[in-house]
Amino acid sequence: MISFIIRRVLWAVPVLFFVGLVSFFLMHQAPGGPFDQDNNRKQVDAATLKNLNARFGLDKPPYVNPRAFAAAWKAGTRNPFKLARTYVDSQFGNYMLNALHGDLGPSFRQRGQNVQDLLKKQWPFSLRLALIALTFAIVVGIPLGVVAALKQNSLADYISLFFATVGVSVPSFILGLLVIIIFGTHLRWIHISTNDWRTWKPYIAPGLVLGLLSMSFITRITRSTVLEVKRQDYIRTARAKGLSGQAVIMRHILRNALIPVVTTLGPVLLGLVTGAVITESIFSIPGIGKYFVDAIFQRDYSMIMGTTLIYALLLVVANIVVDLSYGFLDPRIRTQ
């Protein structure tokens, strides 16, 4: 068990490295830079741009710095650590080394603020949204799936199928706008513009919008696993013991059916995280997702890298937790 955890944690290192590398590459492929202005506004002049680039290290080569390495070698440096350090004295290398120390760098656009400070300030908003969405997805999704499977081809089954189809096929940015139009502007049930994101109430509508896709996914998975478990021989054994229908469902069917459902929580979380980026933007929630989108439009390199790495880390940890809980739920895996 311990070695399993250690192995999984060690695997996170290359995962995070490559996530960083790929997003760095894509970010630099996108046209424009962090200090460009709108076309119809006055651009930053050449001298200032040079200063800014030097201030943020953008004058260094992007990935590796063989020139600095050669210069150090000529200067007589032979210490392998120092030589290696000069070789990776590049934009990407410096960023990753600083990130390793917990320093995600200064934001290019939010003057005077570090990325980690910004994230620290914004993550509670994102957490609230994600918690509401996840709770909704699990608390509604699992019972709906169970009912749909136990009463196969009944009204409940068709209702769950309807919601699942809507949830999967309607993208959250359309659904979010629909919710704002119908419940915000016409029915006036929800405030479409609130400045107070420190209470829970304004999160409910965006939480449901964000959670719907995951909920439909969980519903369908639960339905199919319950249907499969229902047919197993050991369920027949349980019924032949004279157990009540409720005891058979709670003790025998659910315990077995939820194992595959738990394993899908990894992908579900992934859906929530990527969905949150869109939902936060639509509902103007000042969470990490909204900052992420803003950072992409502004080419705020350190902010993009920082949020991406945080998201990746979150998913890696979530997947480790899911895998551990899998072993906890299924004794056949625990002993291996």
Partner: protein
Amino acid sequence: MAPLLEVKNLSTHFFTQDGLVKAVDNVSFYVEKGETLGIVGESGSGKSVTSMSIMRLIPNPPGKIASGEILFDGEDLLKYSEDEMRHIRGKEIAMVFQDPMTSLNPVLTIGRQLTETLELHMKLTGKEARNRAGELLALVGIPSPHKRLDDYPHQFSGGMRQRVMIAMGLSCNPQLLIADEPTTALDVTIQAQILELMKKLQDELGMAVIIITHDLGVVARMADRVNVMYAGRIIEDGPTNQIFHDPRMPYTIGLLQSIPRLDEARGQRLSPIRGLPPDLINLPQVCPFSPRCDYVQDACYQQVPPLRPVEPHQRAACLFDVHAPWVSGNGTSPQAQTAHQLPATERA
């Protein structure tokens, strides 16, 4: 005295996309207290559906007990409510299923699966139930039983799991134990052990047993009486010795002939029953065995032969007085004997 279990004209039907399947068709039999009844037949002959009907565990839909009575201790189980039926299942009638690998819940400990019934039917609590569960494991011969209560099914071998299933079946001292192919999934040495165990426990506890199998060896060893099923009907019944010695239905004869023998000459071919069992959808009103029967006559295509007494205690569903080739006696061939039985119009 009334028998412990009496099944009268039981029919269980399944409504499938292809049509109505009469999985069990007008079946009647009985089990006395303390006796062992064997039900034999090939796959799809309705043996398991019969036992599931007795437990009222036929999945509905698509299945349904269409008609009949199941008298247990004189009470018709088919008239019981689902709640009343739950007090019968596991308590009065218990079942042991075919595949011990899949019949135990993989995520619950053996102890939990045993105590569950004890708590439900015997009203034992916590520690008492656990102790009793340990005793039951000891009874079925599992070494260090109390320690193994916390183990999961995958930590047991196949034979050990079947012992657990038997312990589970016996836990509430049922009056009737239905064992549905209890040894089919086990290898031969383990089969013998499990059968020995069942026989020993039956003698000790005095319950009646219905043993469902396609293995005639198991029947010969265990059963006092035997029902032979074919295409959802009982086509022969009687005391085991009598049926093995002088089967009177061509199907039973064929079954007994197809058993490989150790004392047979080398190179001798097995004599299987030719053909396949009939499709149970839209079964025509003829003898269901007629397409495969060596003794078939025109009359076989006129009606479904009723189960008729052929000897004291023995009944067979054949229109004619056939005997197996190994039975010497009157020595008449089926053809010779049946010619005069055919109605005059048929001969013309």
